[in-house]
């Protein structure tokens, strides 16, 4: 592991670490809303769509990140509008969009004169690719996502908890849903250089899954999930540097490790609790009739 530590003498590792930490914090802050409305895999789908943007950027010799952001936002807004209409065919439309996105991306990257290593670096992340300009993009956009998620928490919580009630409360439900779609697209694309398009969704969902095993409220879940995201991103990058593995895969493996450790701890606590206290007298159901 000393090899891994010595790698952090290099600026590119510092940049990669800062980028990963920002994403580790921002991804679960957004992901909790996606989990709450049972759209855990939407980030993955938008990642597929963003690859087409990368392909367009590389083909036109423009910034792949900017092209990916634009294409991912268009895709995310399209998916949200389909969801809003609530058609059963929405499921099929999503499949078309996802696979069309990744197939189009792979073809376009192939048509450009980029190597397949470049493709892999977008799909699974690459340590050395985070440039200073990228870091500024990640910092600004990641910060914006984080601030939006925290500032709009009461409203986004209300919309994700009960959309009809939010509508009757006069909340701008469609605007809030579109904000969520756009921030998902932005998070996916800024994370593609460090965690990769195919794995960023895991960083949105797994820390939330770990946190909600022991938390009681939404706010507590969000806080715990963001801490887990930070921990997974930081430790994952160390592992990636030490073992020379893809950073995205390492971060996600660490996130799953956190999930398993939390699950085990919760199970142990339950077992201990059950042994210490006699079986709690569960509150009897109130009787429906008066017995004489």
């Amino acid at each position: 592991m000393s090899d891994a530590l010595s790698l952090f003498q290099y600026d590119f590792m510092i940049r990669a670490l800062i980028g990963a930490l920002i994403i580790g914090l921002a991804a679960p802050s957004l992901g909790i809303y996606l989990v709450q409305r049972k759209l855990s895999l939407i980030g993955d789908g938008i990642g597929h769509v963003a690859l087409t943007g990368v392909g367009i950027g590389l083909l036109m010799h423009r910034s792949p990140v900017i092209a990916a952001v634009v294409v991912a936002i268009i895709g995310a807004v399209g998916i949200e509008l389909l969801r809003e209409r609530g058609r059963t065919s929405g499921d099929m439309a999503l499949a078309l969009l996802f696979y069309g996105g990744i197939a189009g991306g792979v073809m376009l990257v192939g048509l450009s004169d980029s190597s397949s290593a470049a493709l892999t670096s977008y799909l699974f992340g690459a340590l050395t690719t985070t440039q200073t300009a990228d870091l500024i993009t990640i910092g600004v956009l990641g910060g914006l996502v984080l601030i939006t998620m925290l500032l709009l928490r009461p409203a986004l919580f209300a919309v994700c908890q009960d959309e009809e009630y939010a509508r009757v409360s006069g909340l701008p439900v469609r605007t809030l849903n579109l904000i969520l779609a756009v921030t998902t697209a932005v998070t996916v694309t800024i994370a593609m250089r460090t965690v990769g398009l195919l794995l960023i969704s895991a960083l949105m969902v797994i820390p939330v899954a770990a946190a909600q095993q022991f938390t009681r409220g939404f706010r507590a879940t969000m806080t715990a999930a963001m801490l887990f995201g930070l921990l997974a991103a930081g430790s994952g990058l160390f592992v990636a540097a030490g073992l020379d593995t893809a950073p995205g895969a390492s971060v996600v493996v660490l996130a799953i490790a956190i999930f398993l450790v939390v699950s085990a701890a919760v199970a142990v606590r339950h077992a201990l609790h059950r042994r210490r206290t006699p079986p709690a007298a569960t509150e009897p159901e109130p009787q429906e009739v008066v017995l004489r």
């Binding site: 909790i32 989990v35 709450q36 409305r37 049972k38 855990s40 500032l151 709009l152 009461p154 409203a155 919580f157 209300a158 994700c160 908890q161 009960d162 009809e164 009630y165 939010a166 509508r167 009757v168 409360s169 006069g170 909340l171 701008p172 809030l176 939330v208 909600q212 938390t215 009681r216 409220g217 939404f218 706010r219 507590a220 879940t221 159901e285 109130p286 009787q287 429906e288 009739v289």
Partner: protein
């Protein structure tokens, strides 16, 4: 300020329904301040659709709906309305405490960007107390019984201090203790000058509160006036609302008995 005969809900010649499927037609309903109206009817009669249309959740195909004298399309004073849906959403497994859910009832009044202040917190605590759940305020709603979850929903609506409560089958499948707590909270609201529009399959302990009944049958309003008396064996105190041999083809509504 208080205008005793002010119309707060007005439905005129309304046709209500979804694409290709009209659920209600020729609906007229006028509700004045202070009234407690029960919308009754058999399952599938369209009674929930009626109140959901009043809230703008189901499209209006023809006619007019006004809330507090403003056409629904232009109505913006949503803080005056407290909506209690049939049940609490699951929230994808992300836990939320009773207080967190009830706090969303303040959003219409507070706006989405202003953080909750002392007045918001006090209103939430009062609403939780009004439904008798203070000792469970910081528990996840998923740990509560169905009846207690229903009380969380009425607390959420009460927290916004509305003028009109709209409730969709508030007592369906709710245990007796919760029904009583529910009726007490509703009674306090009505005594303070609030108006209530509720859909019910059976009224139970809510019955003394009801000032007028609207019966929806076969896509239109069949009765608008006094609460119909339960008839025949329905009137017996131990009647258990089971209809093993209900007629397949409902006859005239006047031959039918209502589950009150």
């Amino acid at each position: 300020m208080r205008v005793s005969d002010a119309t707060i809900v007005s439905v005129t010649g309304a046709a209500i329904g979804y694409d290709n499927r009209l659920v209600l037609r020729d609906v007229d309903l006028r509700m004045t301040r202070g009234e407690v109206i029960a919308v009754l009817g058999a399952n599938g009669s369209g009674k929930s659709t009626l109140i959901r249309a009043v809230l703008g959740l189901v499209p209006l195909r023809a006619g007019r709906i006004e809330l507090f004298g403003v056409p629904l399309r232009r109505f913006r004073q949503w803080q005056r309305i407290g909506y209690v849906p049939q049940r609490l959403g699951a929230g994808g497994g992300v836990p939320a405490t009773v207080t967190e859910v009830v706090s969303t009832g303040r959003l219409a009044r507070r706006g989405i960007l202003r953080p909750p202040g002392a007045a918001d917190r006090a209103a939430v605590a009062d609403a939780v107390a009004a439904v008798g759940l203070t000792d469970r305020a910081h528990e996840p709603v998923a740990n509560l019984s169905g009846g207690q979850q229903q009380r969380v929903l009425i607390a959420r609506a009460l927290a916004g201090a509305p003028d009109l409560l709209v409730l969709d089958e508030p007592t369906a499948g709710v245990d007796a203790v919760s029904q009583e707590a529910f009726a007490a909270a509703l009674g306090t609201f009505v005594d303070a000058g609030g108006s209530v529009l509720l859909v019910a399959h059976e009224l139970g302990p809510l019955r003394p509160l009801i000032s007028r009944a609207v019966v929806v049958h076969d896509g239109h309003i069949a009765h608008d006036g006094a609460v119909p008396e339960p008839a025949g064996h329905h009137a017996e105190p131990d009647h258990d609302h089971v209809h093993p041999h209900a007629p397949a083809e409902p006859g005239s509504i006047w031959n039918r008995t209502w589950n009150l």
